[in-house]
């Protein structure tokens, strides 16, 4: 059976992509633009030029991390919707800590900033985790609400205490040069992408090969049964939420040190890296390798959206629409793994061939 399940899950990921692009194309045609040239511009630069591809990989770094952050909790049927808040908090803390690391050597300074970002993400994830474990407070509602609270707090800090008064717009001061991740050659790729890949490998091993990974799947399938077999579900919830928060915090910190360099109110853009992570995780079927591919695909989409804004008359906001359509279509399994649709098609053709032979 495993041989058959892999193509099915790929079909279930590709069908929504095609459908979303199709509807996006109709919308583009409706505003009087050519959908084919738009999509050509969208993917040509971002995937088929060395410079563009490097930029796409660079952009995939934080998406891999937020995607994994979502996947590890969703797999256990816990809904950590706070990845967005943990991401911006991690970025903000890294950006502030960086300001005090001017005198340190680069590597050490970056390490401190990343650790600070991870700690921030974990602490923020701990609140809903403890409320869920000890008091059965619905973690989804809490994390959704705390995202707003976090965005407001950071906006307050950015416009107030930590504002860079020399700048014309609301932002924290630029982080010192020695803390920024240097670029490899003249590409946009930095050491952060390598870190993201390393974390990906670790998470692959954790989710696929470790006891925790199996227990996560068991919890997701049936928490009551998992508890009955002696698993301490409460502790696992805290652990998973902490891992999720750490991944999101690391994503934010790395994004700060490798791309943004200062915290602005638009740090995570709209709809935000945390939500992009959810799309990436869904697109990859909550599966580490799938997430890696999905993160690169989605990064190309985001990267190319800037090109369509410049070279065509289509606003880049179309990407947010396509993204939401993708999420909607991905929520539904087009071909259920139980219907054996492929088998039916195959046997249908076999019958036909057989009849011809007769």
């Amino acid at each position: 059976m495993p041989g058959k399940k892999i193509p099915l899950s790929i079909i279930n990921s590709i069908m929504p992509v095609i459908l979303a692009l199709l509807i996006g194309g109709i919308i583009i045609a409706m505003i009087g633009q050519n959908p084919f040239t738009t999509y050509q511009v969208l993917f040509q630069q971002s995937l088929f030029t060395p410079q563009g591809l490097a930029y796409t990989l660079h952009g995939a770094g934080p998406l891999i991390l937020t995607g994994l952050a979502i996947a590890i909790t969703f797999k256990a049927n816990i809904f950590n919707m706070g990845v967005e808040g943990q991401f911006i908090l991690g970025g903000f803390i890294a950006g502030i800590v960086a300001l005090y690391c001017k005198a340190l050597p680069g590597g050490l300074a970056q390490f401190i900033c990343l650790i600070a970002g991870i700690a921030g993400g974990m602490l923020f994830a701990l609140i809903p985790a403890l409320l869920k474990t000890y008091f059965r407070v619905n973690e989804m509602v809490v994390t959704l609400m705390l995202n707003y609270a976090m965005a407001t707090v950071l906006e307050f800090l950015t416009t107030g205490i930590f504002r860079d008064n020399g700048s014309g717009y609301v932002t924290t001061p630029m982080i010192p040069k020695n803390v920024m991740f240097p670029r490899f050659g003249d590409t946009r790729i930095t050491l952060f992408f390598v870190i993201a890949i390393l974390v990906f490998i670790i998470m692959y091993l954790v989710m696929k090969k470790s006891v925790l990974g199996y227990e996560t799947t068991a919890m997701g399938k049936n928490p009551a049964f998992a508890e009955a077999t002696g698993m301490r579900v409460g502790n696992k919830i805290v652990t998973l939420m902490l891992i999720s928060g750490a991944l999101a915090g690391l994503g934010g910190a790395g994004y700060m040190l490798s791309d943004q360099y200062s915290y602005t109110l638009n740090f995570s853009a709209n709809p935000g890296m945390g939500w992009d992570g959810m799309l990436v995780s869904l697109l990859g079927g909550h599966n580490p390798v799938g997430i890696l591919v999905a993160a690169i695909f989605y990064s190309a989409l985001k990267n190319g959206s800037q090109d369509i804004d410049i070279f065509t008359g289509v606003p880049q906001e179309i990407i947010a629409v396509i993204q939401s359509l993708l999420i909607l279509f991905l929520s539904v399994k087009f071909i259920s793994e139980n219907t054996h649709a492929l088998d039916k098609i195959r046997s249908f053709f076999h019958k036909k061939n057989g009849m011809e032979e007769e």
Binding site: V141, E155, T159, E227, N270, P315, V321
Partner: protein, 302 residues
């Protein structure tokens, strides 16, 4: 001062109450609808969009309600007929509405939709007798039409939920779907109805938010009110009157954060977190209280 806060409490409660009494039905039918936020934003957007181009207010309200219903149908189709994950669908719809609004605003080359020619004072109702009362008049009179409608709708929703076949069937479906099926109830139909009621009321909340009070739409102006409503529904366990009371508490928090922030000087920005934090605390306290009386062990699949 106190009368201003109480007046604003009613003002800020209105959209939350509408979302709550609508969302209760989906909660009772065991379909968690977290797309209330997007449905509300859709109502806010389409009402202003139609007013901007036609100037026709009744048409705008009808258009907004239809947009909400269409989103409700989309949600139900994907979530109930196709059996998708309703949480993911809900978030998808929230993002879609905000994405479409951003896309259209960009095409219009504007960051908001604003209609100057229509004054919002036409929506204000001064109740004849109460208006002249010293303290109460200032609080209760002078609200907009939908505000009064929303408070009436609390009791309509109560009637609908406890005194009609629709409400009883919706609750039955939510409690035990298999049992409902076995006695011949068309469970999908009642789930659809439950979601659609929520969609309709949320769209109305959006109209109240953008058109009635401001004649202005900016993207993401709903600012998490839909999620606050879900918290209120959880706190009130889907009971129309109880959860509306929780909605009022959050309205009060919102009013306090707005009215007190004018005295706070440089810290005023921080007051905006009051509703969200208060919501989290109230939800936690309610859950702790309920959990204390629950002797069951373990975690149930949500």
């Amino acid at each position: 001062m106190i009368s201003t806060i109480l007046f604003d409490t009613i003002l800020y409660s209105t959209p939350i109450i509408l979302c709550v009494i609508g969302g209760n039905f989906a909660y009772k039918a065991n379909v968690l609808n977290i797309a209330l936020e997007g449905m509300m934003l859709s109502g806010a957007f389409f009402s202003m969009f139609i007013v901007y181009f036609t100037g026709n207010i009744p048409l705008a309200i009808i258009g907004a309600l239809i947009s909400g219903l269409l989103l409700g149908l989309l949600f139900s189709f994907l979530g109930i007929t196709c059996k998708g994950n309703v949480i993911v669908i809900g978030l998808g719809i929230n993002m879609m509405v905000s994405g479409i609004a951003a896309f259209v605003l960009r095409l219009m080359n504007s960051s908001n939709i604003y209609v100057k020619t229509i004054n919002v004072s036409i929506f204000k109702v001064n109740i004849p007798l109460i208006d002249n009362m010293p303290f109460i008049g200032k609080i209760i009179s002078g609200h907009t039409v939908i505000t009064y409608i929303s408070f009436l709708l609390i009791f309509v929703a109560w009637l609908l939920m406890y005194r009609t076949k629709l409400g009883i069937y919706v609750r039955t479906v939510g409690e035990d779907e298999d049992a409902a099926k076995s006695v011949g109830i068309n469970t999908d139909f009642y789930k659809y109805m439950a979601v659609l009621i929520g969609a309709l009321f949320s769209a109305l909340a959006g109209v109240n938010l953008s058109m009635e009070n401001l004649m202005l739409f900016t993207n993401n102006m709903t600012a998490g009110r839909g999620f606050i409503a879900i918290a209120a529904i959880y706190c009130g366990q889907g009971k129309p009157v109880t959860s509306s009371l929780f909605a009022l508490v959050f309205g009060l928090a919102w009013a306090l954060s707005v009215d007190l922030s004018t005295y706070a000087g440089s810290a005023s920005g921080l007051f905006n977190i009051v509703p969200y934090i208060l919501m989290t605390v109230v939800l936690a306290v309610v859950s702790i209280y309920r959990y204390k009386n629950n002797k069951m062990r373990g975690y149930k699949l949500e």
